[in-house]
Amino acid sequence: MTAKLKVDNVSKDFTGRNGKLQALRDIRLDINEGEFLCIVGPSGCGKTTLLNIIAGLENVYKGRVVHNGEFINSTGPDRLVIFQELGLFPWLSVVKNVEFGLKMKKVPQPRRRETALKYLDMVNLLKFKDAHIHELSGGMKQRVALARAFAMDPEVLLMDEPFTALDAQTRDMLHDELQKIWQETGKTIIFVTHNVREAVCLGDKVIVMSSQPGMIKTEFRIDLPRPRHIEDGGVMDMVRPILKELSFEIKKSFEEEYDAKKDN
């Protein structure tokens, strides 16, 4: 099987106040069609930067990203990000938010509404179609963001710590929902999280990154039957080695920051 999405030797520098900072170094990823890839890593290791590059929101970097055989250097409706801050539009109703991308694709109106309602139904929010965004709870907003992304029928979905701010129950529910939708639609998903259990629960593969500079450290295959739940014994067994790896990286990045402070 050839990779659908290929991240080839990508490096990214930022020039900030403290001079040059290498956010990513020589990132290589091969992601197959329909694969669910999870990325964990210490804060600041470049996860968001990597998603932005794949999405085409960040254009200045070294290396190449190839999707369906074409180089990526701009945003495209085939690759959608669900941002941590979601970025739902408060001036639009829930259903109009979900319709937005379709409108940009010039899908004509009766079909646009139909599609939006179908996906709102999928995340169980049909009742709230005319609500405004500020009237929704955090979990409901997450689901609108899911519906908005899936309604555009992208090939690749890039999710940046989407469930971090939620309570455990809501998160479990959304894990079930996301796995269900993923299995139904066969999308390729890259999912960034801080939570190793979440990563093991959702991913076919879990990648641990290290920071300063951001690099891929280890890759774990998760061959557990689906649907999985976060408390499953198998999930717990897989979590331990990954968590050990990640804790090591987090500790390292803390110490580096501490040393950097001492030097200043």
Binding site: A55, L80, V81
Partner: protein, 254 residues
């Protein structure tokens, strides 16, 4: 809500009662301090012989033209300032400086440029609202949260669609508050202009009242001017703001 209305009705009845009482004590002669009934009578006659209607019509027409032009020019300048750094650094500083100038100060200049005619007074009205609208549009656009722009681009919005479907709606709360402030400046400049430059309109009726020593007409016209301000401010802008609050929730910034 009901209670509030009752309180207000009682308050105004008391106010008019007090007014009538002072008049009844005959401290000042009636032509200096007319009774509320007299003023009310003047309003009725003013409307029935249509002098007030004509004056209101003329003032509203002036403000509609002046304010409308302000919105067009102010919106355009605001957009330019938010998009081009050079425009911001040059024109922006000028706008900031001119904003502090009360717009009636433009009247002598307007009279020299345009002569004693409609165009001079409309110019003053334009200057009244222009800078509020420019600044609010500019800062509204500049302060649009980057996440909305990222999300818009992510979903395929490009230059014009991004601007029309994301940036402008996201900046709307700020733009509306600028429009509201602009309206009240424009209305004040119009009244000042009509008072000084005397050619029809509500401000002109005030001057006429003074010249005829007709205190009753002066008060009647003042009441009408205040009522028009309240109507536009509370009802027109009140509705628009309530609508934005309803959509945005508490995050709408004013």
């Amino acid at each position: 809500m009901r209670k509030k209305i009752i309180k207000q009705v009682v308050f105004y009845l008391c106010l008019f009662g007090l007014w009538q009482l002072i008049v009844a004590m005959k401290i000042w002669p009636e032509y200096v301090f007319p009774s509320p009934i007299q003023v009310f009578g003047t309003i009725i006659t003013g409307f029935s012989n249509s002098t007030f209607i004509v004056a209101i019509g003329i003032s509203l027409k002036r403000i509609a033209i002046g304010y409308g032009i302000s919105i067009l020019i102010g919106g355009f300048l605001g957009i330019m300032m938010s998009k081009f750094k050079t425009v911001d650094e040059t024109l922006g500083s000028l706008v900031l400086g001119l904003q502090t100038l009360p717009s009636i100060c433009w009247l002598p200049l307007a009279l020299l440029w345009f002569g004693l005619n409609e165009r001079a007074i409309i110019f003053v009205v334009i200057m009244g609202a222009l800078f509020s609208i420019t600044t609010a549009t500019d800062s509204g656009i500049k302060h649009v949260s980057p996440i909305y722009i990222k999300a818009g681009r992510n979903m395929g919005a490009r230059r014009y669609t991004l601007f029309l479907e994301v940036i402008i709606p996201a900046a709307m709360p700020s733009i509306i508050s600028g429009l509201k402030q602009g309206w009240s400046f424009a209305w004040r400049s119009l009244m000042a202009g009509e008072l000084l430059f005397v050619n029809l309109g509500l401000g002109y009726l005030l001057t006429v009242g003074r010249e005829l020593n007709d205190m009753s007409q002066v008060l009647a016209v003042m009441i009408i001017i205040a009522l028009i301000s309240i109507l536009v401010d509370k009802i027109v802008f009140g509705k628009i703001e309530a609508n934005i609050k309803r959509k945005w929730g508490l995050s709408a910034k004013y």
